[in-house]
Amino acid sequence: MTAIEIGRLLRASTTACVVGCRVSQANVPAFGGLVRIPLDAAYSIFGLIYDIRIEDDGLVRQLVTADNVPNDVILDNRVNRNVPVEVSVLHVGYEQHGRIFHLLPPRPPLSLDLLYTCRPEESRAFTGAGRFGYFRHILRAADLPVGELLAAHLRLANADHAEQGNHDWASAAVQELITLLRDDYPTLMTVLGALADTEAW
């Protein structure tokens, strides 16, 4: 299965980046989904989608005030118009020369670098490497909806693992989260509450 290209980089720092893309039905990226930004043949950054922002523009604002919006206008806006969609991505690790690290990438991506959704095998490789070290990047980002993000991510990653018969990944991930958050009751219960709503449990 080929990776789906989501869009191109607008701006980036060491910890996160923002990608601009067109939205159409085929390649809508998912909140909590794992993405990959290949910078060169041997170096790719892995990230987690934590925000998807569809900016309005003058035309869309006007269209919403109409009594009804014909279907072809809707299609026109989705297919043809470059409605700017900004996808915010949290860096959670990188791959270099075939080895996966759950550390912040040494170099951030550059303008117009392409971003792809991860294929299931890439997702399994990243989330299965090490001991969930990348969770700390998520937990450190205090202004993100941590519980929802983890729940969405775990659900998606679990599906990838379950596809290969590994049904223990989700439990191991939750164990690690509990260990990391054992002294933070409010955050842990928020995360578990969000997880409880997913069908993985």
Partner: protein
């Protein structure tokens, strides 16, 4: 440098002192204009004769010429019961700049093809044409002016439309509407001045003829019109009464008033006005089925009238079917835009066509890169331009 506020402030004050007076005057004039309009709205023959007489006095007269519909009538659109194709085009241009490091021009036409109600996404078309070297000069060795490039652009827009219309026609569509922004008359002032423009104008007319042949409902859409075509007609009545028809087109008793004042009062939302012809020296070139007509259209809401002026060629004015199609399509497209009514397709065509400053820079860089690749020396920006850029960066 900023303006001299001292001087300006003084002048604004003086203007303010006059404002009330002028407003009172304008009110009187409006009342009078309205009275005349109401009185003569259905005196079509009388008005037509009046125009003839006035035109004899002043060949440069420009005013509305009634056809068969009372001037104060409003007409609602009938629903369209068949499928149709809607085509819109717009263009933008990059004028050649002698102060830039490389001289080039560009014409970018954006067009959009919609099949309303058929559930398909519209198709966009972009056609970009670059102008280099000899293309930047007129036949008499002069550098291309902005007017010429604009006319080239207008033609490119219509060419695109005809090309798309042909495709539609060969695909079996027989109801086609084409829209462009602005009047159907390109550059009516400047065209007489250069041979280029003459030639281009001829081409333009050819395209229109082809559209006529395909019986396409072609129109130019003028948003927020400031025209006085009907007011000018009413002025003739006043001048005649005063025995000063000689001053037709030179004296303007109703100077401060425009047509919108009249038609906002009579057109309900969604109604069009009577179709009228344009009497103007420029339109003499538009003859026969090409002769230019127009109507006003209220695309506003109850208690909030908003007029546009729609220019159409004769073959559309003479066909109730095409006229109604155009009317209904324009209403449908305008209403899509909610409270700021403007045809959606025209907006989109503009979006597709527009070339921004960064793109201009990009093109410039691409050209420079290619020249360098070929080993050809590249010019510099003029020092004047450099200085301008510096002070505004």
């Amino acid at each position: 440098m900023p303006v001299n506020y001292q001087q300006v402030l003084q002048q604004i004050r003086e203007m303010g002192q006059q404002a009330t007076q002028i407003e009172e005057q304008a009110q009187k004039l409006r009342a009078e204009a309205w009275r005349l309009f109401d009185q003569y709205a259905c005196e079509l023959d009388t008005l037509q004769q009046l125009v003839e007489l006035a035109a004899a006095e002043n060949p440069h007269l420009r005013c509305a010429l009634p056809c068969q519909e009372c001037l104060n009538a409003g007409f609602a659109a009938l629903p369209i019961d068949s499928s149709y194709t809607l085509l819109a085009a717009d263009g933008s241009q990059i004028n050649p700049d002698r102060h830039a490091s490389v001289e080039f021009g560009a014409i970018n036409v954006g067009a959009i093809r919609v099949h309303p109600g058929q559930g398909r996404p519209p198709e966009e078309v972009v056609r970009s044409q670059m102008l280099f070297y000899h293309q930047l000069f007129t036949s008499n060795g002069g550098f291309l002016t902005d007017d010429v490039v604009a006319l080239m652009r207008d033609i490119a827009e219509r060419r695109e439309l005809i090309s798309l219309a042909r495709q539609e026609n060969s695909n079996g569509s027989d109801l086609i509407v084409t829209l462009t922004d602005g009047t159907l008359e390109p550059f009516r002032e400047a065209k007489g001045q250069l041979p280029e423009l003459e030639k281009l104008f001829e081409t333009y007319l050819e395209v229109l003829r082809e559209l006529a042949g395909l019986q396409v409902a072609t129109a130019g859409y003028v948003d927020k019109p400031r025209s006085h075509l009907v007011i000018n007609l009413l002025e003739l009545i006043v001048l005649q009464k005063e025995g000063r028809l000689k001053q037709a087109g030179k004296d303007h008793p109703f100077l401060l008033i425009d047509d919108a004042y009249l038609f906002e009062r009579i057109l309900e939302p969604g109604q069009r006005s009577a179709v009228m012809a344009i009497h103007s020296p420029a339109v003499q070139s538009f003859t026969g089925e090409l002769s230019l007509h127009f109507f006003y259209l209220n695309v506003g809401r109850p208690n909030h009238p908003y007029l546009s002026r729609v220019e159409i060629p004769q073959w559309v004015a003479a066909s109730p079917r095409l006229l109604n199609l155009l009317h209904a399509a324009l209403l449908s497209q305008s209403r899509m835009m909610g409270v700021r009514a403007y045809p959606y397709v025209l907006h989109r065509a503009h979006e597709i066509a527009v070339v921004g400053y960064s793109e201009r820079e990009q093109l410039e860089n691409m050209i420079i890169a290619e020249l360098r690749r070929q080993g050809v020396p590249v010019g510099e920006r003029s020092y004047k331009q450099v200085a301008k850029d510096a002070s505004y960066s």
